[in-house]
C-alpha cells in the first residue's frame, strides 16, 4: 500500500468520492482557486468546476446553512471551515437547525463540515482549538476525529455517506507530520468503533486525534523503563463513541486514563470517566485519571503552549502513578 500523509489521505478521500458521486460538492472560504488554507482541495476546482468547488463569502452560517438546504435537496455537501475555531460562528445553525431537524421532522441532512483543528504550532487562542467536546453535548450531530491517514480517508468517505450532519475534525498538527499506509480506492471506516492503537494489559489509555501519538510515545517510554504495558484505544469517533471497547479494556486493566488535547472541565473526557465510573465501578482498581489541557484559552507563545498541551512527560507520570496505585 502507498504511504501517504494524513493531509493527502483526506484530499484523496474527498476527490475520489467527488468522482464517484456527482452529488458531492465542496463549499468554503478559499477552497477554489486557492485550494483551501491547507491545500486539501488543491486542484479540485480545475477538475470539478466552480459550482462543485465553491468559494463562499466569509460567512460560516451561510456556508453551513447552505449545506443544510442543499443536503435536503439531495446533494452531499462537504463544507470546509478555514480553521475549526470558526465553527463557533455556525454554532447556532448547527445546534438549532441541523442537529434537531431529523428528530423533529424526519428530514435527513447528509452533510459534512471539515474542521482543521488542534494546536501545537503557536496558532494562538483562535487557530488551535479542539471544539469536539462542545458539540458532543448536542444530540443529532456525529463527530469524527481521525488520527491515522488510513482512518482519515475511510472516515471521511463514511462521513459523506452518512445521512446525518457530521463534523469531521482533522488535526492540523498531523497534516504533514504523520504518514501511513492508505489503501487505494474506495473503503469506509465505520463510526463508533475504537481502534486498539497499542494493545496492553496494565493501564488503559482512551484518547483520540493527535494525543494518540503522545500516548504512544509515553507508552514506549514506560515499556522501556519498567515494562508497564499500556493499552491505547483511539476512539476515532466521539459521537457515537465505542463504550463497549472502553469497558472491555477497563475490565482487563482495571485502570483508566483519559487523555485529550482540549481543556479539562466539561471536556469529553468527563463523559468517558463518568460512564466508566457508573458502569465499571466494580472493575476499577484505581481512580480514573483525566489528563487534558488546563482551563484557559490556548496560549500563543511556545513556552506557554507547551505547558498547556498535554506532553509525553505528563502522560508518563500519570500512567506511572496509576499503575502503582
Amino acid at each position: 500500500m502507498p504511504q501517504k500523509t494524513y493531509l493527502q489521505a483526506i484530499s484523496d478521500g474527498l476527490r475520489e468520492e467527488m468522482r464517484r458521486d456527482e452529488r458531492v460538492f465542496v463549499i468554503g472560504e478559499d477552497v477554489g482557486v486557492y485550494g483551501g488554507a491547507f491545500k486539501v482541495t488543491q486542484g479540485f476546482q480545475a477538475e470539478f468546476g466552480p459550482w462543485r468547488v465553491l468559494d463562499a463569502p466569509l460567512a460560516e452560517t451561510a456556508i453551513v446553512g447552505a449545506c443544510t438546504g442543499a443536503s435536503l435537496m439531495g446533494l452531499r455537501p462537504v463544507a470546509e471551515m478555514q480553521f475549526a475555531d470558526f465553527i463557533s460562528c455556525a454554532w447556532d445553525h448547527l445546534v438549532t437547525v441541523a442537529a434537531k431537524q431529523h428528530y423533529r421532522t424526519g428530514a435527513a441532512l447528509p452533510f459534512v463540515v471539515r474542521c482543521p483543528s488542534g494546536g501545537g504550532f503557536s496558532g494562538g487562542p483562535f487557530h488551535s482549538q479542539n471544539p469536539e467536546s462542545s458539540f458532543a453535548h448536542i444530540p443529532g450531530l456525529k463527530l469524527v476525529c481521525p488520527s491515522t491517514p488510513e482512518d482519515a480517508k475511510g472516515l471521511l468517505i463514511e462521513s459523506i455517506r452518512d445521512p446525518n450532519p457530521v463534523l469531521y475534525f482533522e488535526h492540523k498538527h498531523l497534516y504533514r507530520r504523520i504518514k501511513g499506509e492508505v489503501p487505494d480506492g474506495e473503503y469506509t471506516t465505520p463510526f463508533g468503533q475504537a481502534r486498539v492503537h497499542r494493545p496492553g494489559s496494565d493501564v488503559t489509555v482512551v484518547t483520540w486525534g493527535a494525543m494518540v501519538y503522545t500516548a504512544d510515545e509515553a507508552a514506549t517510554v514506560l515499556a522501556a523503563r519498567d515494562g508497564t504495558s499500556v493499552e491505547i484505544l483511539d476512539l476515532r469517533t466521539i459521537i457515537p463513541w465505542d463504550r463497549d471497547a472502553v469497558l472491555e479494556s477497563v475490565a482487563k486493566t482495571s485502570r483508566l486514563l483519559v487523555l485529550h488535547e482540549d481543556t479539562r472541565t466539561g471536556g469529553f473526557g468527563a463523559e468517558i470517566a463518568a460512564t466508566v465510573a457508573e458502569e465499571a465501578f466494580a472493575q476499577l482498581d484505581a481512580p480514573i485519571v483525566r489528563i487534558a489541557a488546563p482551563d484557559t484559552p490556548v496560549p500563543f507563545s511556545p513556552p506557554l503552549e507547551k505547558a498547556f498541551i498535554p506532553q509525553i512527560d505528563d502522560v508518563v507520570q500519570a500512567i506511572s502513578r496509576l499503575a502503582a496505585y
Binding site: T68, G74, L75, K100, Y103, T105
Partner: protein
C-alpha cells in the same frame, strides 16, 4: 432616499387574468384564505379548551400575504415559511386535520408531538419546517436554491422572515450569499410592523425593509400584504424571474399583525389609531369586496357556498385530529439520527 419599488394595487379583472389568475384561481384564493383563518380560529378554540399544550400563535392579518405567495410557487419549488404563514401551508395543500393534530401534539401531527405550533411542514409538499430561532431558515432556503443551481434545475426556493428577524445575522449572510451567486431564491418579509412589542423604527433605520435589497445587489419591492391579488402578482413575477436566472428578489409584504404576538399578549403597545386603520384592511374582507365587485357571478350565494365548504372541511378535520393518539413515550428516543433508508426519498435521490 427610497430605493425599493412600490407595487401597484390590484387592478381590473382583465389585468388580473392577464397575470395568470383565472376565475377558478380567484375563488380558490378566497377559499384558501378562509381556510387559513378558519384553521387558526379553531386552533385558538382548541387552545382555550386546553387541548393545545404550550402557547398559541396566529397569522391573522397575514392570510393574503401567505396565500398569495404560496399560490405563486411552482409545483417543484420549495419554501420555508414562518410563524405567520399558515396560508402558505394551506395554499400548498397541507391537510388541515394534520395541522390540528400538530397543534395538539398528537402522533399524526407533522412533528409527531416533538415540536408544536406551526413549527411544522409537510416535506412532501416542498415545505421546510421552521425552528424558533429567527430567521434560521433563510440560509436553508438559500442552500436549496444553491442545490437547484448546481444541478441546473429550473426550481426556486422561497425564504420567509418577519420584520424583526431581518435584524439578525442569518438574514444578512443568506441574502448576501444569494446575491453574490444570483441564486434562484425569493426572500419574503412579512412586515407586520411589530416584532413582539418592538415597532419597525426600533428594528431598522431605512424607510422600508425592501430598500435593503440593494445592499445585496437585487431588487426590492414593497407590496400591500392585505391585497392577495397584488401579492400573487409580485410573488409570481419574482419567482419566475428567479427561475429564469434573474437572481433573487426581496418582497416586503406590509400588514399589521392582527392579534398579539401570541395568545397571552393583548398587544396594548400597538397604538389604537394604527390598529383601527389597519383593522379596516382585513385581507379577507377586502378580497371578498373585490371579488363581489369584479367577478361576475360571485354573489352572496356563491360566497356562502365557499364558506360552507370550508366549515364542513374544518369540522371533519377537527374530528379526525381529535381521534389522533398521543405520541407513545416509548418512542421518545427514536430518530435522533437518520438511518440510511431516510435518504431513500424523492428529495434525496
Amino acid at each position: 432616499m427610497a430605493i425599493a419599488r412600490e407595487a401597484a394595487p390590484a387592478g381590473s379583472l382583465e389585468e388580473v387574468r392577464a397575470g395568470g389568475l383565472d376565475r377558478v384561481d380567484l375563488v380558490e384564493l378566497y377559499r384558501l384564505m378562509l381556510l387559513t383563518r378558519g384553521i387558526e380560529e379553531r386552533g385558538h378554540i382548541l387552545f382555550r379548551q386546553g387541548k393545545v399544550p404550550g402557547s398559541f400563535y396566529t397569522g391573522r392579518g397575514n392570510e393574503a400575504a401567505a396565500v398569495g405567495v404560496g399560490y405563486a410557487l411552482g409545483s417543484d419549488d420549495v419554501g420555508a415559511p414562518i410563524q405567520r404563514d399558515m396560508g402558505v401551508h394551506v395554499a400548498r395543500g397541507t391537510e388541515p386535520w394534520r395541522i390540528f393534530a400538530q397543534y395538539m401534539g398528537r402522533a399524526d401531527g407533522f412533528t409527531r408531538g416533538r415540536d408544536g405550533n406551526v413549527h411544522m411542514a409537510d416535506l412532501q409538499l416542498g415545505l421546510i419546517p421552521m425552528v424558533s430561532h429567527l430567521p434560521a431558515m433563510v440560509p436553508v432556503a438559500v442552500g436549496c436554491a444553491l442545490a437547484f443551481r448546481i444541478r441546473g434545475q429550473q426550481r426556486v426556493a422561497v425564504g420567509w422572515s418577519g420584520d424583526g428577524a431581518t435584524s439578525r445575522s442569518d438574514w444578512h449572510e443568506a441574502l448576501n450569499f444569494a446575491g453574490v451567486r444570483r441564486l434562484p431564491v425569493v426572500f419574503v418579509v412579512d412586515n407586520n410592523q411589530f416584532a413582539y412589542s418592538t415597532p419597525n423604527h426600533l428594528e431598522f433605520a431605512t424607510a422600508r425593509i425592501a430598500d435593503r435589497a440593494h445592499a445585496y445587489g437585487f431588487e426590492g419591492v414593497v407590496v400591500d400584504g392585505t391585497d392577495v391579488v397584488s401579492v400573487f402578482r409580485e410573488a409570481h413575477a419574482a419567482i419566475e424571474r428567479a427561475r429564469g436566472g434573474g437572481g433573487p428578489t426581496l418582497l416586503e409584504l406590509v400588514t399589521l399583525r392582527g392579534e398579539g404576538h401570541a395568545v397571552h399578549d393583548d398587544a396594548s403597545y400597538v397604538p389604537r389609531a394604527l390598529h383601527d386603520a389597519w383593522g379596516r384592511l382585513d385581507p379577507i374582507e377586502r378580497y371578498r369586496a373585490w371579488l363581489k365587485e369584479h367577478l361576475a357571478g360571485f354573489d352572496d350565494d356563491a360566497d356562502a357556498q365557499v364558506r360552507e365548504d370550508v366549515k364542513a372541511l374544518l369540522a371533519d378535520a377537527l374530528r379526525r385530529a381529535e381521534a389522533s393518539p398521543q405520541p407513545d413515550p416509548a418512542t421518545l428516543m427514536d430518530g435522533v439520527y437518520a438511518d440510511p433508508e431516510d435518504l431513500d426519498t424523492p428529495h434525496h435521490r
